[in-house]
Amino acid sequence: MNRGGGKMLRPGGNQPFFDDSSDDSDSDEEEEVQDAPPSRPTTNLSSDEDDDDSDDDDDLGASNKRSRSFDDDRKTKKSRPSFFDEEAEDADDDEDEEEAYGTHHDPHDRVKRHYTEDDIRRENMDEEALAIINRQNRRRNQMASFNPDDDIEDVARQIEERHRLASRRVDRTVLDDADIANGNQSLAAVTQQSLLPSVSDPNLWMFGCANGKEQELVYQIMNKCIAFARQGKPLGITSAVAAQSKGRIYIESYSEPAVREAIQGVRGLMAYSMRMVPLNDMTTVMTVTAKKKPVKKNEWVRMARGHYKGDLALVRAVRESGIKCIIQCVPRLDLTLSELPPEEAKIRRRTVKPPQKFFNPQDVAAMGKQNLARQRFPGMNDLYCDFFEGNYYSDGYLLKEVTVGTMVKPCGEEEPPTLDELQRFRNRNKNEGRYEDDEENEGSKMAKSLLEELSDLQGKTSLGEKSTNNGGLVIGDTIEVIEGDLVGMRGKLMSIDGSTVKVKPIGTDNLGTTGEIEFLVSQVRKDIPVGAHVKVIEGRYSNETGVVVAVEKLEGENDATAVILTDMTHKEVSVRISQLQESAEVASGQDKLAGYELHDLVVLSGGGSANEVGVIVRVGREEFTVINNHGIVREVRPEELRGKRNSSSGRAVALDVQGNQIRVGDTVSVAEGPHKGKSATIKRMNRAQLFLYSQTRSENAGIFVVRSRSCVLSGSKVQRGGSDGPSGFSTPQSQQRGANGPNRGRRDDGLIGKTVRIQAGNWKGYLGAVADATPTHVQVELHSRLKKVMVLRERVAVVGDKFGATEDPDRSNMGSMIAPTTPFLGGATPMHGGATPMHGGATPMHGQLSGGFTPSHSSGGDDVWQPGGVIDIAEEENNNSTWAPGTSPTQENDFGSSAAPESTWNPTSSDQGSTWTPSTNDVVPKMETTATSAPKKEEPDYGIQGATALGADDGQQAPVWFMERVCIQFNGKSAVIKDVDNKSAVVEFDDKTTQNITASECTMVPPGEHDTVLVTGGADVGLEGELVCIDGTDAILRDPNGEFKIVDLVHLAKIVGES
């Protein structure tokens, strides 16, 4: 008898088996009594009695745990009412039973003690044991027909035994249920942990084998073991494992020779590759990840075979617990096949992949196919389908029962449904009106609802690699173990190394866990509690931040979904936890979308008004938040935007309440309206609407909208203007400016580009073009040298303007300008004469006039700087001249701080007139004889003359204070200006009567202490406040922010407080 395997079962070369022969007599006896089933090896049956006895006797000596647990096992099993056992033990039974409740030596007592120990593994045994008992009883009852009389005691014992087991079972069930109910997962983890292999466990040996043969080999070994066991010659192996390691199987045994014997004759196993698995790797061997997943209804799957390979399909129903399913997909039918000869059809079937096309019974019928029927889909009662060539078609889709895993594969994250595919499902309903009864097509509906999720899925694919790498884990994250022996444990992520992470458990002090535990990345999941502030690090909602309001665990998925209330939009979005990261950051949105950026001035197409523009104050994932020119904030999609207007905004010039030119980048303070008192930078402007930006404001990204007329330019560059902004006059003015580009502005860039002569210093006498200008210096690019020099502003004289319309951006400049005026003006006339042929030059009449051209040209003595560029430059100059005479005096001389504006104004304008008029006269006659286009050129001149006249009328400019809300005296009555229109205004008297008066008719009410006043000049122009006290010429006022300002009293105008 070959007992080699059996003998080696015990570790450490334990005792050889009991000699069978010694039991023979007993077993024979038993066999005589009882017809033992042939499958039971009689040689082994007899041991019970002897064993029992020896067991009881030797128990004290059995100090090693191993043998004890052996006893336990044995006793547990023994406690089963096995007929043979009973027969054998009959004599001892009473004694046994008594001892069972008394002494420690008793095996039953040991059983009991075993259960009171913490050996949780054994806990399972009872229910299982009970099950086995039941089963075996049944089996034996069937198998054996014994004399009931012999069994009375047995039966009693059996009942008692069963009762005991049952009560124990209940207890433990209660305990376990309590554990589960408490969600005490870490205890469960510990439970599994207690099963870790120890030295007393059998060893695992690894064998190499052919890939894919693992399963088969394990079954083979199993079958071999069973066969040997039936012969009564058990192989000494305890298990064989085919886990998920490819080309490897493991055999577990106490002894190596047993393993060798077990694999003897097993083909496909490489015996020479035998290796023992170290103790700590044993659990790894037993680790598997679920690859196959049952499909669920309404899940997307991909076809795996045939022409349909790769096609998207929808699971309509699941059959046979997820092994099979009915899928719906777009058919690939080749209707031409049946018309071909069989051979060709065969080839074609194999080679040509028919395109996806919805099944249309009419088409099929039209082709003369007869085998078209309408019948129910088997197993789906109320679903009528077109049945054609063995396949069912519903609503154009193919319905088919397929095997999961082979025919279809779940549509995993690697290959999510694409937009295109989903649309193919969705479009079906739109295209086909014929199936109106099938309107509620599930596939279409599903596709529709999934289209929403799609971008999410797509986002995942693009970032899929990243997420598979580490699931978005970052050191410091709180994680939860989702797989393996410590499932449910929480810990803090200490380090990541490739695919393994080190975790420090949280709250496991009582478990005595020390240090860090290593896990595979796939075994842990980020754990984000409700209420955490998180940032989305990838996916569709990337870069959003918010507060987690809920966490939903997905059925059958490792990842959970968190619902986040976003900071920016206060919307709830669902994001996978792996895409989240706890963060205190508050997102401010993205930078760019569809080419538009934050703070872009955009034209809006949506909404009512045609000319709606707005500034982007937030760039979302798919939409912008825009504040439009009415200050209304709304969300628009990129498609609604019709381009940017940043550049035109950059060129635009508007006037503030005082008539100052304001441009993008200027700092203004708001003088009225809801934003009164605020100071901000002009970010964008559109017509008279300013989009102001203040860094101190958080709403709408600091942007707010104010009318330019409600603002006052602030800062040192303010030019106090005498004009209170007669709108009728200034609007065309500003338009002209805007059109003409840099003229003379606040920045003195009017000088830039001009030709100047340096009047003093090293470069005295040089001519050059002004390359740059500051309030004090100009940078002159010398014509004669390739050099730029910085010259004091006073030391340059503009010579490039031939019309005497020199601009004096600064009063400081005025002095220096006086000197060149006379020669300059003198030179103007010939210059203008020179200009005239230039017009001619621009026309076909050029030749006619060329004779006159040259002399006149050269007569302009300073034309050295116009080499060759006569026409262009002169034209430009001419352009400037069309408006310059009108505006520049108005701006400069009038706005200057001189006490008598008229005095500067009049001479200049008369100068202008005198210079201008003759020149015009000079031109016009010539024009009459020459070009037809010329009068066109002249038109602006008339306009300007008109403007000049207007300017002259303006001799009585409205005073600075002539503004709305200012208190005035009129004919001894006090009134308040209600509505200013140029120099006249509607005033309201105390008795609420109104009257239209002009500025000259009234006088300002001098402000007194505690009056509400408006600063009309100086650095704080535009400021409103309460006049606190007057100190000589200074006034102290308190602005709305409670700050005190000292202002010249003359700059103050009393106003009525804002209602």
């Binding site: 009991f18 029992d52 088969e216 058990p234 196959k292």
Partner: protein
Amino acid sequence: MSAYMDEEDVGDEEERVPQQVAELARASAPTNMKGIRACKRCGILKTLDQFIDDGCENCPFLDMADNPDRCNLCTTAFFEGQVAVMDPRESWTAKWLRVDAYLPGVYAISVTGTMDKEIEEELESRGCRYRCRPAGS
């Protein structure tokens, strides 16, 4: 002492082997490579036909024998890993999979899926615990 031990061990072996060998002798391995199902409760692997013919030896109360519908409900094709357990009492793998109290047989390492609500209740009312073991446990 050592003599005692020897004696005991000898007896132990003798007693154990018949029991376990007998169980092993009665055990059944899947008869086919295809159509293998795992009992959702104990995780034993057999073909569907075997389940229908014999039921599950560990879970007779599931009453699968001669009841194909029941077999479909209580077994699943979604499992990972196979362990042929010849000696559940001794085997560490059996212990690890918590099938050490079951009969010899081929067991799945992990079983996916959940019990039917109905069966779940039934099992609970019987006081039987079941586990559709998650992967890796």
